[in-house]
Amino acid sequence: MERIVLPEIENLHNIDVYIANNGFAAARKALLMSPDDIIDVVKKSGLRGRGGAAFSTGLKWSFMPKSTDKPKYLCINGDESEPGSFKDRQIFEFNPHQLIEGIIITCYAIQAKSAYLYIRGEYHKWVNLMETALETAYARGFVGEEMKKTFNTDFSCNIYIHKGAGAYICGEESSLMNSIEGKRGYPRVKPPFPAQNGLWGNPTTINNVETITNIPPIINKGWEWFSAIGEPKHPGTILFGVSGHVNKPGVYELPSGTLLTDVIYNYAGGVPGNKKIKCVIPGGSSMPPLRGDQLEGIKMDAESLRAAGSAIGTGGIMVMDEDTDLVKVLARIAKFYYHESCGQCTPCREGTGWMLKLLNRIVNGEGSQRDIDLLLSVANNIEGNTVCALGEAAAWPVKFMLMRFRDEFEARVSPHINLEPKNKVHSMRHTVNPIDKVEI
């Protein structure tokens, strides 16, 4: 099986090894093509974004205005903060130059002179690795003013690394741009979309690290080759990060459409102690969890997972065995979103806290039947009522966990706990177990 993003070549992070393996040939080829032709090739290849939304990459590029005096920008999203997602760090570590080459080609295709690679702040080691790789690429004349000579072209672009500082929300594209601009990472209202009004008000394209790393092979080998790999509607390979209760957790690059059960049992080595699987989150913690009995026959691509009632997300597969306490898991997920809500929109800022308190109350055995319905009501009131998708990301796990594992939650709440408000006017504050006393 061919690996596109993380090929099995030793020391590929070394620029000489990368060049010896056809490195920067795609950039050379692309710089002789017209930008429109490159966008066309990427469109035809069927490449879709690997950051979560699985949007057509070529189509996204084509939104960039052709005639404008404004500078254009490319942002590469390496914020990678989704729990269960740990794929981009493999690219930074093992194949940084293919990412750099992808950035050069993308910059040319959208005619951007500057690219910002946003890497999460916790990744000190990988920021350093990427900085070293970038310095080498500059020194060898593949990036910057020197690339005009190297590639015998009149196009040049600069790549800068911007280090985040611990905010999950900055993985959201408009929030990422605010962060680069030196602001708090508040998501922006769309429209206007980044292609019209992005970084400093200029046309901007934002792509995921893994998406961009796919570009050089597509240019080298052609769209026909790429579109024939995996599922036709979502072609290529995907980096699946498998974590949780498996014998061999790790990142596996597999063709899209690989069976979820194959990923778990054949590649990740199955569940320790041959236990049964109770729950799998197939695309990072924001995506709807699947019940163990739903897993059979599910293919890992955007369409198949949507049909199965979940989503591909970032391909972070979290496996939970039969002994897992899902109430605790959901409470932990809720804690994450409560912590990471940026605080801009009221439904999310307040709702995530409410969901966490309610879930903690159930974990502590102090929950009532009404709490389950209240949880659903809070989740429904967040979803669709926020500027960015963090609202959905916080609401979905709660909604779908309760929908698919309601019995687990009902077993944990007591019919004898009466949370009927004593004073109808003041509502929850006057109940037996006041919610504001639950520790977060």
């Binding site: 500078p71 916790e122 990744y123 985040g164 905010a167 601009e181 974590s243 957790p249 913690s285 897992t324």
Partner: protein
């Protein structure tokens, strides 16, 4: 307490400014430089950053308080960050967290009396495939048992 950037760091800042078309954009990397020099982001640090970047002080305050990796109070010499998010939790993240917490009598966000260790329960660090993990200052230590975690922390002099 007065805060001024060292000569070396001023040169660093000069290079950072070249990366962006406007000075304001440099606030995050400059705060990192300041944190490296001062250990944490005090009010004086924010004032100095604002002065150098020619932006309002409250803008710096806004950024420094929004992002969790800027310490708004002094951290320990070794800042221990334990991930307890789902992937780590499933593989014993809380056992590591509790072991560290109990051994040094710390709670989330506190510092030991001698200022050597501080503890933070962090969100997903991207070590899901090598869980559980602990990060000490900038370095990751992965695939740990609670005993191994404590041994690593003890080895920090």
């Amino acid at each position: 307490m007065e805060f001024v950037f060292s000569e070396e760091n001023l040169r660093k800042i000069e290079n950072i400014l070249k990366k962006y078309p406007v000075k304001k954009a440099a606030v995050m990397p400059v705060l990192y430089v300041a944190q490296e020099q001062n250990g944490w982001i005090s009010t004086e640090v924010m004032r100095e950053v604002a002065r150098i970047l020619e932006i309002p002080e409250e803008d710096v305050l806004g950024v420094a308080t929004f992002y969790t990796m800027y310490h708004k109070k002094p951290a320990g010499k070794y800042h221990l960050q334990v991930c307890t998010n789902v992937s780590c939790m499933l593989r014993g993240g809380y056992a590591v967290y509790d072991a560290v917490k109990n051994k040094y009598g710390l709670k989330n966000g506190s510092v030991t009396d001698d200022g050597k260790y501080s503890l933070e329960e962090v969100e997903c660090m991207g070590s899901c495939g090598t869980a559980p993990m602990i990060a000490i200052n900038e370095d990751y230590f992965e695939n740990l048992t609670p005993e191994q975690a404590l041994a690593i922390i003890e080895s920090m002099k």
